[in-house]
């Protein structure tokens, strides 16, 4: 089936020959009740994951997030309700066959220590009876995809790899037969913070290319915000507290519980999530030397800042013009202050804010990829941004793709 692109308009063309498939996933009042226990572990969970998106299940321990994930490949059987994969109920499929078509990545990786890396990755192809040549080619392709050298890695055993390398192999193994859906249970939880960040970024880059439907479990709200196209916050008793894209979750927590869970610094988290280009910048008044002063005044009147920015031939900001520069007939090169800080459209808002706070001026000149002035960022702009609803909020995956 076709892999519909996610809500972002920017979809990169796949670099490798890896053809990729994805299917939508739907929880329909899925409930898990364990015998002898009154309260359900997962309670009437209903949510839809569009094909090609990452849905993060997040919540405190005991909220049923892992249980919910494991119901998808029937590692745990559903008591009531249903889960549909590509429109078909998982209950109608044989568990073993279902699982072979769902990538599975867990925190401890669970590589087979008695098998080489190549054999580990070839687990499902072997179950499906692929021939040797096809399997070997696929193994090499996958190793390259996750950034490992096939020549070097193929014949090693898992004990000879670092934690990060093992997790990469775990991802490669899960992708072996190009499953439309992947389940990932705290996949980066056991990795040290520096390598975790790297693996997260690498994975988002990979996902931008592969566009799998992914159910990703974590207890870490920051990871959820970074990885998720959509986040399902679960609370004790397996109840869905909120299901929303990250920015919306931060902006409009549906309950006190969600508000507490995302943390009191949720405004800052939004800043970390979004970029300067996502914000409505103030209109600047770019003026070149020699421009008629009357024209310059008109530009200033039209702009959102009461100062003119001197720009060169390429529109690159040079400095804020002084009043004196605007007194004669034509604008002269007389600046009151340098154009500092200069921010880029791709800067993360949090970094832009930090730049702005540590500089002397209240206004930051924002430039586009060519270095030309694109607008003005100010503390007021950011404050206003945090107060209004995010419209089409981009996600971590979309951002990395650009």
């Amino acid at each position: 089936m076709d892999a519909p692109t996610a809500k972002s308009s920017a979809t990169s063309s796949p670099k490798s020959s890896t053809k990729s498939s994805a299917e939508p996933l739907e929880f329909r009042a899925a409930t898990k009740r364990y015998p002898g226990s009154e309260a359900p572990a997962v309670d009437q969970l209903s949510l839809e994951v569009p094909a090609g998106e990452i849905c993060v299940l997040v919540g405190p321990s005991g909220c049923g997030k892992t249980t919910a994930m494991r119901m998808v490949n029937r590692m745990i059987d559903i008591t009531e309700g249903d889960i549909l994969l590509g429109g078909r109920s998982v209950r109608d499929r044989k568990p073993d066959e279902l699982r072979r078509n769902i990538g599975y990545v867990i925190q401890q990786v669970g590589l087979f220590p008695h098998r080489t890396i190549a054999e580990n990755i070839a687990t499902v192809p072997r179950l499906l009876g692929w021939d040797k040549a096809r399997t070997a080619a696929r193994v090499d392709e996958l190793l390259e995809l996750v950034g490992l050298d096939p020549q070097e890695m193929r014949n090693r055993f898992p004990t000879q790899l670092s934690g990060g390398q093992r997790q990469r192999v775990g991802v490669a193994r899960a992708l072996a037969v190009d499953p439309p859906v992947m389940l990932m249970d705290e996949p980066f939880g056991a990795i040290d913070p520096i390598n975790r960040e790297r693996l997260q970024n690498e994975f988002l880059r990979l996902q931008a290319e592969l566009r799998k439907t992914i159910v990703f479990v974590t207890h870490d709200i920051d990871e959820a915000i970074k990885m998720g196209d959509r986040i399902a916050v679960l609370q004790k008793g397996g109840k869905l507290a909120q299901y929303a894209p990250p920015a919306e979750l931060l902006m409009y927590p549906a309950s006190r519980f969600v508000e507490d869970f995302v943390g009191s610094d949720r405004a800052l988290k939004r800043l970390a999530l979004q970029r300067v280009r996502d914000i409505d910048l103030w209109k600047a008044a770019p003026i070149r030397v020699g421009t008629p002063v009357a024209e310059a005044h008109a530009a200033i009147a039209d702009a959102d800042v009461p100062y003119a920015m001197l720009v060169d031939e390429g529109g690159r900001p040079q400095g804020w013009l002084s009043d004196r520069a605007l007194t004669g007939e034509r604008v002269t090169d007389d600046r009151r202050s340098p154009a500092h800080p200069i921010l880029e459209l791709d800067d993360v808002l949090r970094d832009a804010l930090a730049n702005l706070l540590s500089s002397e001026t209240r206004y930051g000149a924002v430039v586009n990829a060519d270095g030309a002035l694109a607008g003005i960022l100010s503390l007021e702009v950011i404050q206003h941004f945090l107060q209004v609803a995010p419209t089409d909020s981009p996600t971590g995956a979309d951002l990395l793709q650009e």
Partner: protein, 234 residues
């Protein structure tokens, strides 16, 4: 010499005039000359070791797989095989005779029953030591329970299983030396023919020790060959 058993005279015949032999000493000349007479008992001993261990291994494996599927069976199996293990071997060789007569069958039954506890316990331990996440990953990838057992759990339990085989084999080499009481021959019967003659006892006993060592090395070599992953370290 009155009262000397016929066999005893038999064994000393070649080179019997030797004073060393006459004084029951350790006689290299006699040993070199008579070493041939030990080959048949040695082969019997090999047979008395390999067959019980093989049968015991097969039975233990079946029991261990059964107990792996139904955990509650582990206790009873250990209790029963533990009782077999606790019966003194010589007593077993005699006790079984009314049922199985004198000969190989009696020896086999007793020797097999001794290996069960050792091998069963090691297989069970090996299977239990397989990390839960490895089994979880295997199931999550769509391996059937049978595939999980044969492709993941048993291969990963090989080091423990082989350790059990080594203990069982060494033990069986030793116990097989007593199989003479069941009428099954082996190196034990050679020792019994003339147990006062040092040369005889040393050769027969020494061969049993060498046999145990050889088996141990063979099993170790096999283990190393089939578990390359055990030696792989970063």
């Amino acid at each position: 010499m009155i009262g000397v058993p016929l066999a005893q005279l038999e064994i000393r015949k070649p080179g019997g005039s030797d004073s060393c032999v006459a004084s029951n000493g350790f006689c290299p000349d006699w040993i070199v000359e008579n070493i041939d007479r030990y080959w048949t008992p040695l082969l019997e001993h090999v047979y008395l070791t390999v067959l019980p261990v093989a049968i015991g291994f097969a039975m233990s494996m079946a029991l261990a797989i059964l107990a792996h599927r139904r955990r509650w069976m582990t206790g009873p199996i250990i209790t029963i095989t533990g009782i077999f293990f606790a019966i003194p071997s010589v007593a077993a060789f005699f006790l079984l005779q009314p049922l199985t007569g004198l000969g190989y069958t009696t020896a086999m039954v007793a020797l097999v029953s001794y290996t069960l506890l050792i091998i069963f316990r090691n297989i069970t331990t090996g299977l239990r030591n397989v990390p839960a996440e490895t089994v979880d990953a295997a199931i999550g990838q769509g391996l059937t329970p049978r595939q999980v057992l044969f492709r993941v759990e048993l291969p990963m339990a090989v080091p423990e299983i082989m350790a059990g085989l080594r203990i069982a084999t060494s033990t069986t080499v030793g116990l097989a030396a007593l199989a003479v009481f069941a009428g099954a021959g082996g190196l034990g019967s050679e020792i019994l023919i003339d147990k006062r003659f040092k040369s005889n006892v040393v050769v027969a006993g020494g061969l049993a020790v060498l046999l145990a060592a050889a088996f141990d090395l063979i099993i170790l070599a096999v283990q190393r060959a089939i578990t390359p992953w055990q030696r792989a370290r970063a």
